[in-house]
Symmetry: C2
Subunit: 296 residues, 2 copies
């Protein structure tokens, strides 16, 4: 089975880097990613510009992305106002985030888990009406920076409530990079049981060097899509040494060499990873672009 | 099943770092590693001091290691002269390396694969006679920097010849960090079929971010021991950006959180990883020591 790599560098990656990039540079990143074979991207967030200044130019970015060729653009939305902006900007998909714990939900979204699930239902309905695919990400599903361990039952309960709104896809996110493969197998299995037939996606950070092992576990568990960012950018601005998302180029190398087709050109992706690191003035955490090509 | 983590930082790690450490600092590293719960270490190499100057003090290191407490020290040997030095230094085990390809074998050991297999047989006999456990590492089993892809049949043929000398253990090494989990499953299965009852060990480098996924695959395939280095040190001196071995602390975090006991104290290991990075004047590639403890 092929795997879709969903490029989240333009959104989750850049949102968590210290350096603010111009709309032009963001579009150059998206152009490179698409040229390298990626066909699905989380391109922007429609969060309030005061809360997430890195994404204030979401409309301008969406106006400039290369359309056609089967490329699908996701906009992150957290409320109806965000959805309306996303719809006007002609995203192909919207992704809404529900946090797995109360503390993180209050800190990140200023509302309870219950309230964000109600917002998800409203957004999903609006999306279906507008012909936009709605997906839901359950964040901090593998552990919470405030509450610690997250019970799989908590993730199950959220998935059960979310499924009524007919998500096109449910994603499990290891937001702080604490998860391990056994958790992946358990949580993916749990969500598949609750939402049979719904597409599944996983989102891993490599903060503790478990991200790629988790990706392999997710593929084994039958997940269709994995998030990754060019260069592995997205280190949290409050923990400068922490790495970000798993890297598109390293994930593509790993999967392609395992015989799992991704459609991504590993060398093009590695070049993009190095390039975005230069734009951000950092050494991107991805490793394939630093190593000798193999096989030559 | 618990997994043994074999600490290779003092040998494979330090041998491939630019900075030469004093015997005292090497012994401080070994003391820290043992205090952190590791019970098996590749401590030194008895290669010719002119070829591997980093290991010229092998005898002095072995004279100073903390003995007892069930700790087993491995010395790397490449020929009979090396074995004699190792035996005099009272190692508990010797490890011999056979390269999987002719080109790498000539470049690394100045002899053919066939010749190194004959040397292995002689060394294994001497070891058994001396009551020292002999293990064999098949290096570059997952790919060769000179010849590219390595056929599993080549690894099978080497294992078949090596098994006559009654190895206490066979190790599969991804010397240049190109391997992926599907290869691990295939090669471990192949060697287990050829050498039933012989303990198996795997040695991974994280050069292309596949090392930890490979470690999980090795555990699933029933391998008893995994090599790792404190801090993940061992980046090749000729490719400064490349990472070294998988890191002891990151591997211990991954396995312990999966419910696989290692006996290693993750926080102590992370502190040792940061410490050895400071001694070498580098930022060690391990990630657990840079991240927030989880769970707190």
């Amino acid at each position: 089975m092929p795997i879709t790599i969903c490029e989240v560098g333009p959104r989750d990656g850049l949102q968590n880097e210290r350096t603010l990039l111009s709309t032009e540079t963001k579009l150059a990143l998206i152009d490179r990613v698409v040229a390298g074979g990626v066909r699905r991207l989380e391109a922007v967030s429609f969060a309030h510009p005061k809360r997430v200044p890195q994404m204030a130019d979401a409309e301008q970015v969406m106006a400039g992305v290369p359309r056609g060729g089967g490329v699908s653009y996701i906009g992150l939305v957290l409320n109806e106002r965000g959805f309306e902006r996303a719809a006007r900007a002609e995203v192909d998909e919207v992704n809404m985030v529900v946090l797995a714990t109360e503390t993180f939900s209050q800190r990140n979204q200023g509302m309870s888990v219950e309230a964000s699930l109600r917002a998800w239902s409203r957004i999903a309905r609006m999306a279906h009406d507008a012909g936009i695919r709605p997906s839901l990400t359950i964040s901090a599903a593998f552990g919470c920076p405030f509450e610690g361990e997250v019970s799989p039952d908590r993730v199950r309960a959220i998935a059960r409530q979310a499924v009524d709104a007919a998500p096109a896809e449910i994603a499990l996110a290891d937001t702080i990079g604490v998860g391990v493969p056994t958790q992946v197998t358990e949580l993916v299995g749990a969500v598949r049981d609750i939402a049979p037939g719904v597409a599944l996606r996983c989102h891993f950070h490599n903060t503790r060097n478990t991200g790629y092992a988790n990706a392999v576990a997710a593929v084994s568990a039958g997940v269709e899509t994995l998030d990754a960012s060019a260069g592995g950018i997205g280190g949290c601005p409050f923990a400068p040494a922490a790495t970000g998302n798993i890297a598109t180029e390293d994930l593509a190398y790993l999967l392609e060499r395992m015989g799992v087709a991704t459609g991504v050109d590993v060398r093009a992706a590695a070049a993009t990873g190095r390039w975005i690191g230069e734009q951000l003035g950092i050494e991107a955490p991805a490793l394939v672009g630093r190593a000798d090509p193999f096989p030559r």
